[in-house]
Amino acid sequence: MTLLAQAQHFVRAPEWTWYIVPYFYLAGLAGGCYVIATLLRLLGNHADEPAARLGYYAAFLAFLPCPVLLTLDLTQPLRFWHMLWNTTPGNEGPNFKTGSPMSVGSWALVAFGLFAAVSFLEVLVHDGKLRRPFAVRVVRPLDGALGRIWNAVGAVLGLFIAGYTGVLLAVSNQPVWSDTWALGGLFLASGLAGSAALLALLVRLRRDAQASLGMFELSERLYSLLELALLVVFALTLVGAGTLDDAFGFPWILLWLVAFAGLLPGLGRLLTARLAVTTEGALVEQATLASAAVLWLTLLGVLALRAAVILSAQF
């Protein structure tokens, strides 16, 4: 028996449940959508701009409930700002603890919120949906190089937001969570896969964004593969700690089945079509009920993965 196989946990569960599961989910999608939108805008073709805008819309709208959920989860919600400001008498000042992912994440969430909000405003103005002079003045500086820098920094924050939640869980003494170092990567990969699926769904609402559907298709396949690889690492680390049953036992196995089912569309297409979309250029998805259902399944899988990880360690 290895040392890790004797891992002991005498810790109490923090009862992070019904606010935290959707928060982790939406943070993954918000960060992932911003990242994909930025990739399209900065490195894609000019025809990708409508899809990039779709991504920035989705990122901000997915982000919006996040601070609310986090605040409601506190047992003293009106003290949410204590995350950022230390009110200890004689030691007042900003709170930033590099060793505490929750502390770092609080600041990252504020910063990402700013980037997501401004990018949302910018696409509203460029889409002609917002014509107020103030808004136009705010986003005008972002038309050039500054805008690209803004998006790039926002994308880095998006990557952080989508993944830090996993590190937050790992930096504890809870069974399952603290027995692995793979959760940050796993949540990030899963968030990216879910975001690609979400954007592939949203493309149906914006016809001029369909030129980028091929990118969403291929990236979902690749992110699903990445997620699967990290899931294997996650499981192996739990085997070493002796807590595999805690994570994958009944009833959590049901959630895991949904999570695996969500990976199947991407992995299936990777096996059958590899990295080919079409031979003639951009894919135009048929807006069938079946294709939408497959994308919803991927999104459900992303949620199930987080629910399985978060709940299995606590109950």
């Binding site: 002991q8 005498f10 810790v11 109490r12 569960a13 923090p14 990242v35 990739l39 073709n45 000019h46 025809a47 989860d73 047992t75 003293q76 003290r79 204590h82 995350m83 230390n86 009110t87 200890t88 030691n91 709170n95 603890k97 060793g99 505490s100 992912p101 929750m102 609080s106 002609g128 949906k129 990557l159 993944g163 830090y164 996993g166 590190v167 790992a170 504890s172 003494n173 170092w181 940050g184 990567g185 796993l186 990030l188 990969a189 001029d208 030129a211 091929g214 990118m215 969403f216 298709e217 291929l218 690749l222 992110y223 990445l226 990290l230 990295l275 979309v277 079409t278 250029g281 951009a282």
Partner: protein, 279 residues
């Protein structure tokens, strides 16, 4: 009791070999700290409080260590009794992860949760390896043993130590307690009680515990992590962030591959933003 001086490290030495399970410590703690307590639950043996939490800052564990087939004398075995408490760790997991700065080290070198700063995020609960902290339902903030911070400030020893009739709970300057513990352990070993051991006396467990114990069995028997398992939550920081970073790089790479391999979208307009802008 000598004068209690700020700037000096204080703590508890809990000698479980002389604990009789009277629970005077629990009562004194609740009385002084005005803890209402939970509904009594008759669990196993004589335990009716169950665990350390927001209402139980001292909890006497009754551990049935006697084989079922015992006839008469217990074959040299006795129940293990232990008045458990917050360990006031030198390397405190709760303090490491607390994002608000609510958990501080006091002038008496104890670990204290400031009730007016805590916002109830419960990160400390997920980190404490001894399951000490709970959320109080009235104040809605994290509660645990304060080592009677208010009494220390008033020059009084903690209520539990004051009430303990067998001196199983001893309070004092940490150095003095450690010397007393060393002597007690040597005495027990000299009497042939080989299983006696000190837990948290040295730095092997969380850099040393200000509330340390003399145990009559292995730490695991008391549901205390042994030296190998007494690990800080921060151990996963480097691995977690690095895995996240590697995944982020692969994620961007995956996006680039997807962009390159998807075929070229049919569009010739050189001005991307303007093309997409509404008329």
């Amino acid at each position: 009791m000598a004068e209690i001086v700020p700037g000096q490290a204080y703590g508890f030495f809990t000698d479980t070999s002389v604990c009789i399970g009277c629970k005077a410590c629990e009562v004194a703690c609740k009385q002084w700290n005005m803890l209402a307590g939970n509904e009594p639950s008759f669990i196993d043996g004589y335990d009716n409080t169950g665990q350390l939490d927001s209402q139980n800052w001292r909890h006497v564990k009754f551990i049935d260590n006697v084989p079922d087939e015992t006839m008469g004398t217990g074959q040299g075995k006795a129940w293990l009794l232990m008045s458990d408490v917050c360990k006031h760790c030198q390397h405190a997991s709760c303090m490491d992860v607390c994002p608000t700065g609510a958990i501080i080290r006091t002038e008496f070198d104890t670990v204290y949760i400031q009730p007016d700063v805590c916002n109830g995020c419960r990160n400390c609960i997920s980190a404490c390896p001894y399951s000490v902290i709970g959320i109080d339902e009235e104040t809605n903030v994290a509660h645990k043993c304060t080592l009677c911070y208010d009494r220390l400030q008033g020059g009084m020893e903690p209520a539990c130590a004051k009430a303990c009739p067998t001196q199983s709970i001893q309070f004092g300057p940490l150095q003095e307690l450690q010397q007393a513990a060393d002597k007690r352990l040597a005495d027990l070993h000299a009497q042939g009680v080989a299983e006696a051991n000190l837990y948290g006396r040295d730095q092997a467990v969380y850099g040393g515990l200000n509330a340390f114990f003399l145990l009559m069995d292995e730490p695991e028997a008391y549901k205390l992590p042994n030296t190998a398992n007494a690990v800080l939550p921060g151990r996963n920081n480097a691995g977690g962030w690095l895995t996240g970073l590697a995944t982020a790089v692969l994620g961007v790479l995956g996006g680039l591959i997807a962009l390159r391999r998807r075929g070229q979208p049919p569009s010739q307009d050189p001005s991307p933003r303007q093309e997409a802008d509404a008329p």
